[in-house]
């Protein structure tokens, strides 16, 4: 129990660790109680611990994701981007987006939509002269993304580093930027973004209400808030199997693959401590969002919450 100090809490899923950097602003030194897995710690301690967790896990993050969810996390993230249905010209802020999964999917999606748009335009250009068609080609080629941009924001430098490397490796350069920042206090102006996503990150935020308020602030009017997170399974049989898998298999995998049992223990505990679907929906509504709704994936193992700033 005491060995929790250099605790590598592994939030196998999403990064968004809490700030240890600009900790003083919310300056709650030894004050408020927070939870770290099934333990109770102070807020500052929690932030520190979570930061260290992700610092240590960063390199093995994606591998662990795949092995723990048997690759299903890719489908979840695909569903999230599909639900977002971004049109070219959308500005996305991906908070706690460390290794860039959502950002890359977003770019792919927008690219394919853009291509379809261009094809449709070409079909209409049947009776233009060759010169005009040539000119339209020139104009469109320069914007394969159609002005869409994604900003990946994460509190943890290591996660961002891994993300940047991945981007380089996969060849994503256009329309992508990486920013170091804290979800509870975003370094952006008001009314900036069309969509705000936080995938598997909000669980690691110490003050969820602050993060939601920040989300509300940086979104444009009409903007959308999307949150992908582990949630509560209502089906009792499935719940028992899930618990079995979570507490018996995942920490073992963590030890074998990443050499870190405690972090993955933290992960599964933190999932149990996170508010269930309805409660999170109420919190999102409190922050000022409208048309708040959630969609359960895999009968509650994961849920996507969506709200609009109206």
């Amino acid at each position: 129990a005491a060995a929790l100090c250099p605790c590598r809490a592994v939030l196998a899923r999403r990064g968004g660790a809490l700030r240890a950097l600009c900790g003083s602003v919310r300056g709650l030194a030894a004050g408020p109680e927070a939870h770290f897995g099934f333990q109770n710690v102070t807020e500052a301690e929690r932030r520190e611990k979570i930061y260290q967790v992700f610092e240590n896990v960063a390199k093995k993050y994606d591998v662990m994701n795949d092995s723990m969810t048997l690759g299903i996390h890719r489908v979840w993230k695909d569903i999230l981007v599909h639900k977002m249905n971004p049109s070219p010209g959308t500005l996305l802020l991906d908070v706690a987006g460390g290794t860039g999964d959502i950002a890359f999917r977003f770019i792919n999606y927008v690219r394919s939509i853009r291509e379809r748009q261009l094809q449709r335009k070409l079909k209409h250009h049947q009776n233009l002269s060759w010169q005009e068609i040539f000119e339209s080609y020139q104009a469109d080629k320069s914007k394969s993304l159609g002005d869409s941009q994604v900003v990946v924001c994460d509190i943890n430098k290591e996660m961002l580093k891994v993300g940047k490397q991945k981007a380089q490796h996969l060849g994503y350069s256009e329309g992508l930027s990486w920013v170091l920042g804290d979800a509870e206090e975003l370094p952006f102006d008001d009314d900036k973004f069309d969509v705000y996503t936080i995938a598997f990150g909000i669980r690691n935020v110490t003050r969820i209400d602050l993060a939601l308020q920040e989300a509300y602030r940086v979104l444009k009017p009409g903007g959308r808030f999307l949150c992908l997170e582990f949630s509560h399974v209502s089906n009792p049989l499935l719940s028992r199997l899930y618990d079995l898998y979570s507490f018996q298999v995942i920490p073992v995998l963590g030890e074998v693959i990443a050499g870190d049992w405690k972090s993955y223990q933290y992960l599964v505990e933190s999932i149990r401590r996170f508010p269930p679907q309805e409660e999170l929906k109420a919190m999102i509504e409190d922050a000022g969002f409208f048309k708040v709704d959630y969609q359960n994936l895999n009968s509650g193992i994961v849920a996507i919450h969506s709200g609009f700033k109206l």
Partner: protein, 313 residues
């Protein structure tokens, strides 16, 4: 600049606090802030100085909302927060506004989520607001159809008023039906190129209840204003016939390339004439049938007489 921003935010929070108080009085309804956002934008245009919170409070209740259409009964929004909630619109109203704005982008983008996104942009909202709707554009089509039906009802009501006031002649049924269907179909003309797409959307299984509902209520309306008061089986046959006429004329209109759709209106004329004649024919058939039966009875009696079986001396 920063000060203005800070003030605005402070005012924003204060105002939100106020809204929260309201919410506690009438829990289920929450006012939309877009209306406030839009209103603030118009305020800022009027007064380019930093809007202080005091200003916001004052101009709140008295600022007329230019976008607010005369909405009919809104029972759920005039709760205990009475005056406050009347100034704001509901989510549905905002959605209607977005869809109406999206209609002008339909000729370019079709009945899709893209058109809705463009519509949201013109209202000053982010393109992500299109996420409120189905991604296949269903709501846009249904909204348009319902709008057209409402316009048709208003048109027919006006005509009826004119007849009642004696300013116009009452049209014969055939003429009335023709004009009503023509007026309704003319509303499709600006969107005629993308209308086949709209029809296919209306036929999607999850849209069929809604689209069928709209269609039947429109036909009902037309017959009502045509003066139909039947209470027997005629009610059904009349509606079925008119639905058939309407649908077939719509399909003909899709493929019509004559100037001002003359061919379509001529087709419509013929179909309505057929429909009305069918009514007459039905009567004729009935009376002919009766006549034939009587003739047969007479022949049978005559034969009986001749055969001497009708002995009644």
């Amino acid at each position: 600049m920063a000060a203005a921003g800070g003030l605005r935010r402070a005012g924003w929070r204060l105002w939100r606090g106020r809204a929260v108080l309201r919410c506690q009085l009438s829990p289920p309804q929450r006012a939309l802030r877009t209306s406030a956002v839009l209103r603030r934008v118009s305020e800022e245009q009027k007064e380019p100085l930093a809007s202080s919170s005091q200003q916001q409070f004052d101009s709140h209740p008295t600022d007329p909302r230019p976008e607010q259409e005369p909405q009919g009964p809104r029972p759920s929004y005039t709760g205990q927060g009475g005056q406050e909630s009347e100034d704001y619109e509901s989510e549905e109203q905002l959605q209607h506004r977005i869809l109406t704005a999206a209609l002008e982008f339909v000729p370019e983008h079709g009945w899709t989520a893209e058109a809705i996104a463009e519509g949201a942009k013109t209202l000053g909202l982010s393109v992500a607001a299109a996420g409120m709707f189905h991604s296949d554009g269903s709501e846009l089509v249904l909204h348009f159809v319902s709008q057209c039906n409402t316009k048709l009802s208003e048109l027919l009501e006006q005509e009826q008023k004119q007849v009642q006031l004696g300013e116009a002649e009452k049209k014969p049924t055939e003429q009335f039906l023709r004009d009503a269907v023509e007026a309704r179909l003319r509303m499709l003309i600006p969107y005629i190129e993308k209308w086949p797409q709209a029809l296919s959307i209306l036929l999607l299984p999850h849209n069929i209840p809604a689209s069928l509902n709209l269609l039947t209520s429109m036909i009902d309306d037309i017959w009502h204003y045509a003066g139909d008061q039947s209470t027997d089986f005629n009610w059904y046959t009349r509606r079925a016939v008119l639905t058939g006429v309407y649908n077939t004329t719509e399909l003909v209109m899709m493929q019509d390339s004559s100037p001002d759709f003359e061919d379509t209106w001529r087709f419509l004329e013929n179909r309505v004439a057929d429909a009305v004649n069918m009514g007459n024919t039905a009567n004729q058939v009935q009376s002919t049938g009766e006549a034939v039966v009587q003739g047969l009875m007479g022949a049978a009696v005559t034969i009986r007489n001749l055969a001497g079986l009708n002995q009644r001396r």
